[in-house]
């Protein structure tokens, strides 16, 4: 009997990659895609790595594919934007060894800056897309994606969403199939995309997409479930599960291939079912194509383009009823916050006290935008903090940014921040960039990166020195400082924003959640000394709360012992005590 185990969607994808005989994988962490690489790293047969960004990751996968082995790149939806430059042309060159790109969309924005739909990019890049619905399919579709890739000579996208990536279901395991390496042959017409060869490849791309749209009818990833033909659904991915839950007796066309659409299958379904709904989260990608073929279907007229769906949402939209939830309590919101002992809090408390605006970036430090820290003014995409600040300076002059800094994490800096810093050096910026160096990729759950000295597989490697890197590209003033040195930070930041010299301040302290990173003491408040001034509450540490009498209390199980609060208590009412 085959082993049956319960697996996270992302873990199942990793298993599928392993079983498919893949040899090389490259990725950059990003919720909800991160666990694919983390799980893949457990298989010694697969080389896998963290790349500094998704463009690099995809190019690594392309190289491996050209050389003749099966390869993988994985990323979150916005990562595909970074990797779209190689993606569009990879579609032209095609593959040698099969190559799959796993892209994880985030409808509902569990941990992202937008809700873009990968299927839109795939359509414009003419790359086929498979979309599984549960963990078992995630594994099987991954394997099928490699077969398709080789059969049709194209990269294939496996699209997942947060709910699939981060839900667990039962998976039956199979053995790994060792795939023989394809022979590498120099082929300028196919692999060197200069105009002369690309013109020809464009025709190949179009022909391939047309063939796949026809052949797709027979792909085992599509499923027709005909029952009550009065009402039917065309759907795919996670929304299929919601449809089954909401309308168990309806007819369903479940598409596993969502680009190009298997037209004949849809024609057939439309001819058999009276009223058809298209249920897809985010953009009306399937719906608009089906409508363009002259069919009447109901989709985004009643379903939202925002967020995640649910069985009730579908039921309510179709039946026009509102679910009754009379006893929902009104309670205070609990948004995510920086952890106790987070070094970002220390830096932000200083920026707040100096009334400095920060152009922000992607990472836990985005949480510095909200009360009580209120420091971050902008967040756009990976690396944008540095270039945004530069843009403000060029628009308004150097004096305008005397109360501005850019704030970026160590992993994000290496991702794309470095390019922006090169621009600052080249184009004579006078700004101040704060690199919050917490020695890890924090928000996605602690992944190694090029400056940590460890690889994805846990091997020792060279750790890029951020200070040397900044100096070597010509930043005239590079300062490294302990992120918990509040007085030092105050002085350094004040001086550097006032000066006309481009400065990088590397505020260093490991993430509070890294293993073994607890201080040997905890902070304790002495209520008789507490003057109820509330200064310690302004740093927004979740371990510190105000009691009914107005004095403060520090939760000892939550306190990490960083001692930041002590810096802000003028009355010595907080002390460190041994753990």
């Amino acid at each position: 009997m085959k082993d049956k185990i319960i697996m996270l969607g992302n873990e199942a994808i990793a298993r599928g990659v392993y079983e498919a005989g893949v040899k090389v994988s490259s990725a950059y962490p990003g919720t909800p895609s991160t666990e694919i690489s983390e799980n893949l790293a457990k298989y010694p047969e697969v080389y896998c790595e963290w790349a500094p960004n998704e463009k690099v990751a995809l190019e690594v996968a392309i190289g491996a594919s050209y050389s003749g082995v099966r390869s993988l790149a994985c990323m979150k939806h916005v990562g595909l934007n970074v990797a779209s430059d190689p993606l569009y042309t990879f579609a032209y060159t095609g593959v040698n060894g099969g190559s799959v790109i796993v892209v994880a969309d985030d409808p509902g924005l569990a941990s992202s800056q937008n809700e873009q739909d990968t299927r839109m990019i795939a359509r414009s890049a003419h790359v086929p897309v498979l979309e599984p619905s549960d963990s078992m399919e995630a594994k099987e579709f991954t394997k099928f994606a490699f077969e398709l890739s080789e059969k049709y000579d194209t990269p294939v996208i496996l699209r997942t969403t947060t709910k699939l990536s981060h839900s667990q279901g039962i998976v039956e395991l199979c053995d790994r199939v060792e795939v023989e390496d394809k022979v590498y042959e120099r082929n300028v017409k196919k692999h060197v995309m200069m105009p002369g060869s690309a013109i020809g490849r464009h025709l190949v791309v179009e022909d391939r997409e047309n063939r796949m749209a026809i052949d797709g009818e027979k792909f085992p990833v599509n499923k027709v479930e005909l029952s009550d033909t009065k009402i039917g659904f065309i759907t795919s991915g996670i929304p299929y599960l919601y449809v089954k839950e909401a309308f168990p007796n309806a007819s369903v066309l479940k598409l596993g291939l969502v680009n190009p659409l298997p037209k004949k299958l849809i024609d057939d379904f439309m001819s058999k079912v009276e009223k058809v709904y298209v249920v897809e989260e985010l953009e009306p990608v399937i719906e608009e194509q089906v409508k363009s073929w002259g069919y009447t279907v109901i989709g985004k007229e009643i379903f939202t383009k925002q967020g995640e769906y649910s069985a009730n949402l579908i039921k309510n939209a179709i039946l026009g009823v509102k679910s009754q939830c009379e006893d929902r309590a009104t309670v205070p919101a609990r948004p995510p916050i920086l952890c106790p002992g987070c070094p970002h809090r220390s830096v932000f408390s200083v920026l707040n006290s100096l009334k400095i605006h920060a152009a922000g970036d992607i990472g836990c430090y985005t949480l510095g935008a909200v009360a009580p820290l209120n420091v971050i003014d902008t967040t756009v995409c990976m690396g944008a903090s540095i270039s945004t600040l530069h843009g403000i300076e060029k628009a308004k002059g150097k004096d305008y940014i005397k109360n501005w800094v850019a704030v970026i994490g160590d992993s994000t800096f290496l991702h794309t921040g470095i390019n922006s810093l090169v621009n600052m050096v080249y184009n004579k910026s006078t700004g101040t960039v704060l690199i919050l160096d917490n020695r890890t990729t924090g928000m996605t759950g602690h992944q190694e990166h090029a400056a940590t000295g460890k690889t994805l597989k846990g091997e020792e490697t060279y750790a890029i020195d951020l200070a040397n890197l900044c100096s070597s590209i010509g930043v005239p003033n590079v300062i490294t400082i302990d992120a918990f040195d509040v007085d030092g930070l105050k002085k350094t930041i004040k001086e550097s924003v006032a000066s006309d010299v481009l400065t990088v301040i590397i505020a260093k302290a490991p993430c509070a959640l890294l293993k073994g990173n607890k201080f040997p003491y905890v902070c304790k408040a002495e209520s008789d000394k507490c003057k109820k001034c509330g200064m310690c509450l302004k740093i927004g540490c979740p371990a510190i709360t105000k009691q009914d009498d107005g004095t403060i209390k520090i939760d000892e199980t939550m306190c990490n012992g960083c001692g930041l609060c002590i810096n802000y208590c003028k009355f010595n009412a907080i002390n460190k005590v041994e753990r």
Binding site: I6, H166, I170, P332, R334, A371, T545, K546
Partner: protein, 190 residues
């Protein structure tokens, strides 16, 4: 059998994820179809965290709709109140008697509701446990989730052996004994 729907809620970092995974594995070992839905990424950072576990003959949706939850396990009082409407009228709430102020309360924008335990008890069958106190008595506050799991076990089903078997295989090897003790203490309410 009809699917059993379990919802585990708490504050990011309290161990709700591990608890759901243990429930899921135990159900799998018993031969059921199982689905779990988890929360990763930014929301985990001290935010309100929700996971679902569903098991039965065939499970489609990995989440549970409002009003359809059979067992609601809450690691914190405010979170119990926040999600109480997910619980069926005849469902049961297991709530860990713990208060963690959200930042909205710390900054004075909102007030932490009083008498939550009275309110939830008046609306649904409620079991209150002081998980942290039990865990501390055992000498490790980190086994809180095993205590809470123990207290919830009899409303979910499965034998004590089945639970302990999965617990043994899931927690770090050094902590097996104390987690077992914690589970039993939670189960017996001491």
């Amino acid at each position: 059998m009809k699917n059993l729907n379990i919802m585990v809620v708490g504050v990011g970092g309290q161990g709700t994820l591990l608890t759901s995974r243990i429930i899921g594995k135990t159900a799998l070992n018993d031969g059921f179809d199982v689905k779990l839905s988890e929360v990763h990424g930014m929301a985990q950072r001290g935010g309100s965290v929700v996971t679902f576990v569903r098991f039965g003959e065939k499970v489609f949706e990995p989440v549970v709709e409002e009003g359809d939850v059979d067992v609601l396990i809450a690691f914190e009082r405010l979170e119990a109140l926040r999600y109480l409407h997910y619980l069926k009228k005849d469902g049961v709430l297991i709530v860990n008697d713990c208060r963690i102020d959200p930042m909205t309360v710390v900054t004075g924008v909102a007030k932490y509701p009083e008498n939550i335990l009275d309110e939830v008890s008046s609306k649904r069958k409620t079991v209150v446990i002081d998980g942290l106190d039990i865990a501390k008595k055992l000498g490790n506050s980190k086994v809180l989730n095993s205590v809470v799991l123990g207290a919830s076990a009899k409303y979910i089903g499965f034998s004590e052996d089945e639970w302990l078997d999965v617990l043994t295989k899931t927690v770090p090897p050094k902590t097996i004994d104390i987690n077992k003790q914690a589970f039993l203490a939670g189960k017996n309410g001491k």
